[in-house]
Symmetry: C2
Subunit: 305 residues, 2 copies
């Protein structure tokens, strides 16, 4: 019998919903709750909702702390939330400080892709590895880096922002306001946009739908998919040429298209110097990666001390 | 009085010459010797020369081991030298194994840019920092990464090969055989080539000469320098978006042009997500960075155990 010693609350704070779990340090989930974010109603009610979630989830348990994943970063100079376009009301809010004071428990906040990297490293597809790059291809393209078993955080909060690596200088406009970013080509949003431009159709398509159309002979879908695989391969190769990790874990909606796992490994050799041994694995924790990653923040931060 | 406890021999194995020093773990150099590489005469005579250098340098001293910097890598699957275009005779040679057997002392071999990173971290410009990216812009463009005070080596030997990060997919042909690499735009060789193409002149120019011409009003020189600064800024920003280091240390011939240290910091903000706190410093150890970095290999590897 395994006796779990530690519990934490993990919160995934998204643009649409706030989801929370009570989990133990083996990744087992005991309680799960979900509420709407309603960012338009302001940050105060978001904070109140988080506090209520934490209290409801942890009733009857002694927790080590609370971890929160946000689609943004904490500016380390000011400890304020920034780069969180989906939760504009939180921009500039000292989230950690406020929650610590009101909850009287340790609180850790990290970028959501960093949380996915942590959860996949601790409980998911990359459990066997110590040098991991997680790539989350959804609406945007995020990343999280684990080096030597630890989340690599960098000096400012932007380490792991691989979606904003420029791969075509002066290329397509990105949602960050710059040009030529990886995200401007191969996020879910960008793939859809590139397909609509090429096919001159109007309805939005997911990558799964694009695959279906390609199999049915849609030339534009085939071309866009092929270019997408090529660009992802180039992006991952850039990371290999810099960091040379043991494994990539790919998550997010776009990773539901199995073509990625078939095509990318074949195409990487073309772009790396020498050879690559990096495995390319699909994220395993699915919808739980955010909340479990947030809970892992607590375990990984407190076990360090 | 500081008493030095440890000595090592550091060898910088270049395309033209093999240079060696006897140094202590404070970076003090006691002996220095230099011989020609003469790669065309084959690898056996190179190995014999290295052995003679080690013996001559360490006479009267007890050394911890020998460190060697090579303009290439050691393939970790086979322990053979590879990616060493300037020393073709060494390609496929089990350098570490042969030297260990003949010298009966620990031998460490690393890519020369990794050695520069180590020496600047231990004794040079980046002594105060623990998260460092060294960028060596000379004939080619190499890099070395120190994370949390340790050389980041990666799974295969290519970590730190930032020169082969693609910044313009499908762009200029690179010496590695691929296209669009950072090195294909801003190595000394590439800058010279881009200038000759634009100015339709024939003589080779260094970056220092290019700066001189730009100051004198040469429009082509101005344009090439301006683009060079812009591309280096973009390349470093890509690394910031991934690794977010505390400091870049720039070495190699191209770093003798001070414009780099004036222009790059200004241009980085345009390409990073959020903000960057990364300092951009000039490598300090100059010609000694290779040999001292090679010696540091011994100290850093043996002090780990």
């Amino acid at each position: 019998m395994v006796i779990s010693l530690s519990y934490a609350v993990g919160i995934d704070l998204g643009g649409t919903k706030i989801e929370g779990v009570l989990a133990d340090d083996k990744g087992k989930v005991y309680n799960r709750l979900r509420v709407l974010t309603e960012d338009k109603k302001g940050s105060k009610q978001i904070i109140d909702k988080i506090i209520k979630l934490v209290k409801d989830l942890s009733k009857g348990y002694k927790i080590l702390g609370v971890g929160i994943g946000i689609p943004g970063n904490i500016d380390r100079r000011t400890n304020k939330v920034h780069n969180a376009p989906n939760n504009p009301s939180l921009d500039g809010v000292k989230l950690i400080e406020i929650l610590k004071r009101r909850l009287k428990t340790p609180v850790f906040v990290e970028n959501d892709a960093n949380c996915l990297a942590l959860s996949e490293a601790m409980f998911g597809a990359a459990k066997k590895y110590r040098n991991i790059v997680a790539v989350v291809i959804g609406t945007g393209l995020g990343g999280g880096i684990i080096i030597d078993g630890k989340l690599h955080q960098g000096v400012t909060p932007i380490a792991g922002e691989i979606g904003h690596m420029k791969i075509i200088m002066g290329g397509r406009k990105c949602s960050c306001g710059q040009a030529g970013c990886l995200e401007a080509y191969v996020s879910g949003t960008a793939i859809d946009k590139r397909y609509r431009e090429l096919s001159k159709t109007k309805g939005h398509v997911t990558v799964t739908e694009l695959s279906r159309r390609a199999r049915k002979g849609d030339a534009a879908a085939k071309k866009i998919l092929d270019e997408t695989y090529e660009i992802i391969a180039l992006g991952l190769s850039n990371i290999i040429n810099v960091l040379d990790p043991e494994v990539f874990v790919i998550g997010g909606g776009v990773s539901n298209n199995d073509g990625i796992f078939r095509e990318i490994p074949k195409r990487i050799a073309k772009y790396v110097l020498g050879y690559s041994d990096a495995k390319i694995l699909k994220a395993k924790l699915g919808d739980s990666s955010g909340v479990l990653g947030a809970a892992s923040l607590v375990f990984s931060n407190l076990s360090k001390k």
